[in-house]
Amino acid sequence: MKTISLTVDGRAISAPEGQTVLEACIAADIHVPRLCFDSRLEPYGGCRLCVVEIEGMRGYPTSCTVLAADGMVVTTQSPDLHSMRTTVVELLLSDHNISCLSCDSSGRCDLQDLAYEFGIETPRYAGETHKVDLEDDNPLIARDLTKCIACGRCVRICEEVQGASVYGYHGRGFNVLPNTPFGGSLTESGCEFCGQCVSTCPVGALTDRRAHFRARAWETQKVESICGYCGVGCTVSYEVKDGRIVRASAPLGRGVNGGNLCAKGRFGWSFTHHPDRLTTPLIRKNGVLVEASWDEAISLVAEKLGAIVAQSGPQSVGGLSSAKCTNEENYLFQKFLRGAIGTHNIDHCARLCHSSTVSGLAASFGSGAMTNSISDLAQAQVALVIGSNTTEAHPIIGNELTKAARRGLKIFVIDPREIRLVRQASGWLQLKPGTNVALINAMMRVILDEGLANREFIEARTEGFEALETMLLALDLDDAAETCGVPLDAIRTAAIAYASAERATILYSMGVTQHSSGTEQVRAVANLAMLTGQIGHPGTGVNPLRGQNNVQGACDLACLPNCLPGYQPLTNRGTLDRFCDYWESDVELPETSGLTVVEMMDAAVSGELKALYIMGENPVLSDPDQTHVLEALESLEFLVVQDIFLTETTAYADVVLPAATFLEKNGTFTNTERRIQLVNKVVDAPGQALPDGEIIVALSSAMGLAMDYDSPSEIMDEMSAVTPQYGGISYRRLREIGGIQWPCPDDDHLGTPILHTKTFTRGRGEFAPVTYRPAPDSPTEQRPFVLTTGRHLWNFHTNTMTGASGGLRELNPSGYVELNPRDAKELGVCDGDMVRITSSHGSLDVPVHVCTSQHSPRAGVAFMPFHFADAPANRLTGGELDPICKIPDLKVTALSITRIEA
């Protein structure tokens, strides 16, 4: 990028081309007063405070809207400018509810700072003031428009970054204020409660209601860490007073989120201070969980597991690790099960979300992770978003898509539901659940027919194309369109746009993976990218969005039954021995894979698996076929659950160990784009609760495999020694250069933002022709609906954390089944009516949500979030597993729905 030179207040500064004068000044640490500017927003020029003098220009241009140019001579301070700015601030103050004594923004209010800067003791002007009566009924965002300065930052961030457009400028002249349509409450106006408006409001008009009167701005200490919800891995700054978190915000310009946060990240931390947190170990005595000491609990677990290993062998023990925990803890967890117990029976929730990604992309490309970075989405011209409700499940990536769409990115949403991203999209392909393969094959056939296949790329970088081509040429396009239920024209438009774009990317998530043909669906996606050569450079790639904050890391560090850290195969005796030697373990590890989650449940029922150690998972809600899971847990001889709360799963535990939350420990998380980032302890854990890693260390040592680390940093050093992708990762480097994307093989390596740039990890990319297979549990006459499960913006996973975070909890407190208005009408049900829904696995009574959109979900599709214990969607799911990765089919379950008479 070209650098330009300009002079500001007699000082020579330089700036990259494209920066505004204001941005150049900020970068050079030159103070220019401003109110309507936020680096996250598009230039606006509303408040007239950043006016400057520029030689050769008439008048006083606003520096936030003028691009810096070579040779420009700028003056930011002069008597004229001072006088104009003072007048602006005085005018704003004349209509400002000055209540700094108890205003929650006092000490961080830009207007307060400007009044001080310009020495305004009493406002010079008096006149009409705004009197605003607001519908303000929500638990999170407090609005007081008597303090509003009408800078429009809330309106713009809601539109430009969030894409929600809840606020608008209403009225004219003096009466213009940002408000919702018809002055409705935020709740009824479609607010997403991301609090982005709170984060950008320069005064006290929009504040975090939950922080009111809890701490003055200068009383808190800020600790920066990584959010523990989804896989985006946002940088969050937590403000702490007296050992308790008061509020959370995102530092501008830092981390993958660059100052943005979603509802969960901003408001979802108070669970950590919840009175129901587990504070001591619990041991079941006479059927009841009673408090115990750590010594007692650890001895009991060691003794019981030891006895079961001695009696039934190491393969009778299994462990479920947690994608919520740190890399260090996941590494220790598998080290404990492999090195101390001697089993590969280790798995975690990735089995149920992206195991098909790991198997499918590993086969096609050689590496089962997101190929590109979040930040390079901005460079794409076309994005296919397949089976990902991005704005709800990965909200900050949703923001990136929204911003890019404003700059011309064409988004094609492929989803049975009219997800929020459809508003920003150029096209919406509303396919039938489970028909991705038919759709993608049809797109590839169109691309072939149109001559848009990238023959050069196919020739140079891939193998196996002939078989794919043969399969595609035999495809009947009309049949395929009929199968997936999408008009052929729409398929053609999306295919041509994707293939002919210079840079096009694919984002996908569980709408692709959670099928018994998940691996095949992922391979179809990979085929599409390779056919067009849309991989290996910025703005392209195949990008699976990973669900949990550290699911990538838990996979990388081998909390999986079929590999060792860094995806090293366990079928090689030498590798196994090398690990055991390194760990100073004398166990004999098998050369065959252990059991996956679902297989462990089967083995428990059949009696082969006798003990299960669960760290931070809640399979009773998160795993398919709840009845079977309950049977499995009841069949176990010994169940240890380590968690932060009592959960639906601890109800079956013999021992419950109290763990620390991600806010109470140090370590690292690896986000969805393979970025390893430091997690810092924000507050102390309550009572005797301990970080999961410390519990594993105590348990392992009690069972004879000594673990001796002074800090998580030492565990990282061991991990990087045995995990090739993490070879160059150390806490020192993470502190110095921030997050690093693996592979990072050595200390001089800065990480890898884009995979497969020159060659694929496996050498040549492998095409695998896959043909559409109907989902095994497709609708029948008795069960005419398709149940598809998913997520909600305000809830996370089994709601353990979000359901214990006041404010967030109230927004979407309980389960429901979503139907489209026509299906609801045919069933004779209205919003809120109860229905009985029944699959071959179970039955539930649940209230109906009728969508406001006439078109969503697709006719015949019922959608349920899986978060809620009161309506556990997974009581209805189950059935066939993908033969390769063992992921269950969670997106297509045949369902009958009947109205329950009140």
Binding site: V166, Y167, H170, G171, R172, P181, G190, P821, A824
Partner: protein
Amino acid sequence: MSECSCTSSQSPEFDATALEAILSSGSTVEGALVPILQASQDAYGYLPRPALEMIARSLRLPLAEVYGVATFYAQFHLEPRGKHIVRICHGTACHVRGATEITDVIVGELGVEVGSTSEDLSFTVESVACVGCCGLAPVVLIDGETHGGLSTQAARRIVSKLQREQTQ
């Protein structure tokens, strides 16, 4: 996020036929919003909420934006309007020559506050800035017809006549 589709989005009192015709004949190109709002107001006499919601959906614009435009222009009305529109000029000249007293008389006579509409939808009374005929001050516009040089008695006479005509 969902609400019962039985009630809200298709309001039973709102007859969408006219709006559907406007939306299907009018183009949905960028910039079509103001003409569509004008045509809708012509059809319904004002801009009912369900109409704004339908326009937003159809043009794929945020409701906040449509509402913003509708509240920005003085020509658009979000509440039902009276059959007769009484506009009282409050420009400088009219103000000096007794617009306030005239307003009191008209409000008293019609029983309608400034800026509102009578319950039977007969009259809407509005205060406007200069209407551009200061020589005739004080001025009242009734259904577009100018009445100038008014005394309070004259103003009372005119609106009483209007009221009589309305009740006949």
